[in-house]
Amino acid sequence: MTSIGDNPPARPPAPTPPNAGAGTSALAGGWERLHPLSAVVRAGRGTLALLVVMAVSAVSRNGSGTQDLVRLGLVAVVLLVGLVSWLVTRWRVSDGVLQVDTGLLRRSSLRYPLTQIQAIDVVRPGLARVLGMAELRLRMAGAKGSSGRLAYLSSVSAEQLRARLLAMAHGLDEHEPAPPERPLYQVDPKRLIASLLISGPAMALELAIVVLVLVALIKPGAAGAVLASGATAFLGVSSALWQRFNGEYRLVVAEAPDGLRVRAGLIETSAETIPRGRVQALRLVQPLTWRPFGWCRIEVDLAGRATGGRRNRAAKRAGRALLPVGTLAQAQALIERVMPDVPTERRRPPARARWKAPLRFRHLSYGLNDRYAVTVSGRLRVVTDWVPLGKVQSVRRTEGPLQRRIGLASVHLDTAGRMIFAVARDRDRSEADGLLASLPGACRAARAGETGIGTGRRRF
C-alpha cells in the first residue's frame, strides 16, 4: 500500500442513479464516500497505545530519539494506509442493493441485497463517538461471516441510512420515515454489575484472586509464578466479562413496527435492529447463582455469523442478549412480544431417563404447538430454547449406546441460527419416532402460515 492513493478508477455509471442520500461527499453516479476522518478512527487504538508508550518512555527517559521517530513513522504509515483506503472506498444504494467498492490493488465490489438483511447494527467505538461518527454493519444470512461494513459514517447519516435500508428491506418506499418505537425496558446498571459478579466465570475469577492474595500473603515469592501460569486464562476471562459488561451496559430494548431495537454500550455503543421474522431461536438461561434473586437472561439467535470484529470466543458463545439480566416477568413479557403464543404445556421424559441424564433429568421437558417448539435442559443452569417451527431446517433423531439400551432417543430441531439449538432430549423411542414423523409436516404448515402475514413478501 505504498503507491499513490489515486482517485478510484472510472466506472460506468449506474443506469438509474437514485441519488437519494444527502451525503456530504457525493461522487458521480450516486456514489458516496465514507467520513473523511475514518482513517483516524481506524488507526485510533494503535495510535493511542503508541502515544502511551511514547509518553512512558519520554517520562522514564529510556527510549532514544530514534525509537520515538520509528513509532511516529508507524503512526504515519497507519494513517496513510487508512487515507488511501478511504480514497478508494465508495458506496451507494441502488435497485435494492447496497454496493460497496473498495481496495486499491485488488478492487472488490460487494453487493448486499437488502431483502436478505438479517439485522442492521450501528456501532460506535469510543473514539468514533468523540468525533461524532458511527459504523454501519449489515448482517446477511450467508454462512461465512458475510457481513457488510461501512466504517465510518457521520452519526446522523448512519442513522438516516439505517432507516432507509430498513424501509427498503421491508419493501417500503426508501424515503418512508423510521416508524416510532416503544421502549420495552431498560436494564439497571447496578443489577447488571451484580449479576455479572455472581456469574460462573466471574466467580471463578474472584476465587482465583482470593487464592492469589492468600498465596502472596503466605509466600510472597510464589505469587508471581502462580500469576504467570494463569495469566492467559485470567486475561481471557476478564476481557470476556468486560465485553459482556460493555456490550450490555444500559441495554434498552424498544419495539418498532419494523422490528426490535437493541441499544447498549458503555464506551463502545451499538444500536442493533432485528427486523420482524428474522429471529431463529430464543433462549432463556437461569444460572444456578442467579436463581435466589429470580434473575434470568434472554438470548436471541439470528441466521448468519454474529458480527463484531474483536469479540472473543467466550463473548461470542454467550450470544446476543435481549435481556442481559431481568426478572422472570420481564422475560415472559419479552418472549410474548417476540414469539406470541408459545406453548405452555411441557411434556416430561420417561422416568428411566434419570439413568442417562441424572443432573439434567430434573429440568428435561419439551412442548409443542402448531407454531413453536420449546425444549428445556441444563445441568446446573436451566436452559429453555424456543424455535419457530417455520424456521426449522431439518429434524434429526440421535441415539447413543446408553440411550438405546434403555429405549430412549433425542430429537434435534436444526435452524439456521449459530448458537441456539433446540433438542428434545431423552424421549421414549416411540415418542421420538412420532415426532420425527409429524414434525416435517408441522414445520411445512407453520412455514406456509408464516408467509401469509406481514408484507406478503417472501420472508427470510
Partner: protein, 180 residues
C-alpha cells in the same frame, strides 16, 4: 466403542431398522450405498495401517530384537482387523430414502442418527469423490441446508446414481424452495 458393540452386533444392518420396532421408519424402503463402499473403507484402513505397521515393526525390532518387532506388527494387524469389522458394520448401517417432500438419511452403529431434511430447505447439493472413492467408481452426495447441523451426507454411491440423486435433489429443491 468395543464395549456393548458385540451385544447387538449380530445383525447390524437389519438391527438398525428392526430396532425402530414397528415404527414408520421400518416401513420405509431404505436404499443403501454400494457394497463397494466396504472396499473403499478397507483400502483407506490399509493405507493408514501400512505406515503404522512399518513404524511399529521397525522401532520394535531396532529397540529390542526381531521377536518384539514381530509381536508389535501382529498387534497392529489385529487392531486393524477389529477396526475393519467395525467399519463393515458402519457401512451396512448407512441408508437413505427419498420421500415426496423430504430426504431421510440414517447412519451409525453406536451413535445412530436419522435425519429428515425437507427438499424445500436445500441450499445446494455437492458431489465429491476422493481418490479412494474414485478408484472404486463411487462418489458422495451431500445436501446442504442453512443449518450447519443438518446432516445429509450419503457416501459410496455409484457415480451414475450420485449424479441422478444430485439432479433429482436440485430439481426438487428448486420446485419446493422456501426462504430461511
Amino acid at each position: 466403542m468395543p464395549q456393548g458393540a458385540p451385544a447387538d452386533g449380530a445383525s447390524s444392518a437389519d438391527g438398525a431398522s428392526s430396532a425402530d420396532g414397528a415404527s414408520w421408519a421400518a416401513e420405509l424402503e431404505w436404499k443403501s450405498p454400494s457394497p463397494r463402499l466396504r472396499g473403499v473403507r478397507r483400502a483407506q484402513l490399509a493405507a493408514a495401517t501400512i505406515p503404522v505397521l512399518a513404524i511399529a515393526a521397525g522401532t520394535g525390532a531396532a529397540a529390542s530384537g526381531a521377536a518384539v518387532g514381530g509381536i508389535a506388527s501382529v498387534a497392529v494387524l489385529a487392531g486393524a482387523a477389529i477396526l475393519d469389522l467395525l467399519l463393515g458394520r458402519r457401512v451396512r448401517a448407512w441408508g437413505f430414502t427419498e420421500r415426496q417432500q423430504d430426504l431421510i438419511v440414517r447412519r451409525g452403529v453406536m451413535f445412530r442418527r436419522l435425519s429428515v431434511i425437507p427438499y424445500g430447505r436445500m441450499q445446494y447439493v455437492d458431489v465429491t469423490a476422493g481418490p479412494f472413492e474414485r478408484a472404486f467408481g463411487l462418489a458422495s452426495v451431500r445436501m446442504h441446508t442453512a443449518a450447519a447441523a443438518s446432516d445429509a451426507r450419503i457416501p459410496g454411491l455409484p457415480q451414475a446414481e450420485a449424479a441422478r440423486l444430485r439432479d433429482q435433489l436440485s430439481a426438487l429443491g428448486e420446485s419446493q424452495a422456501t426462504g430461511l
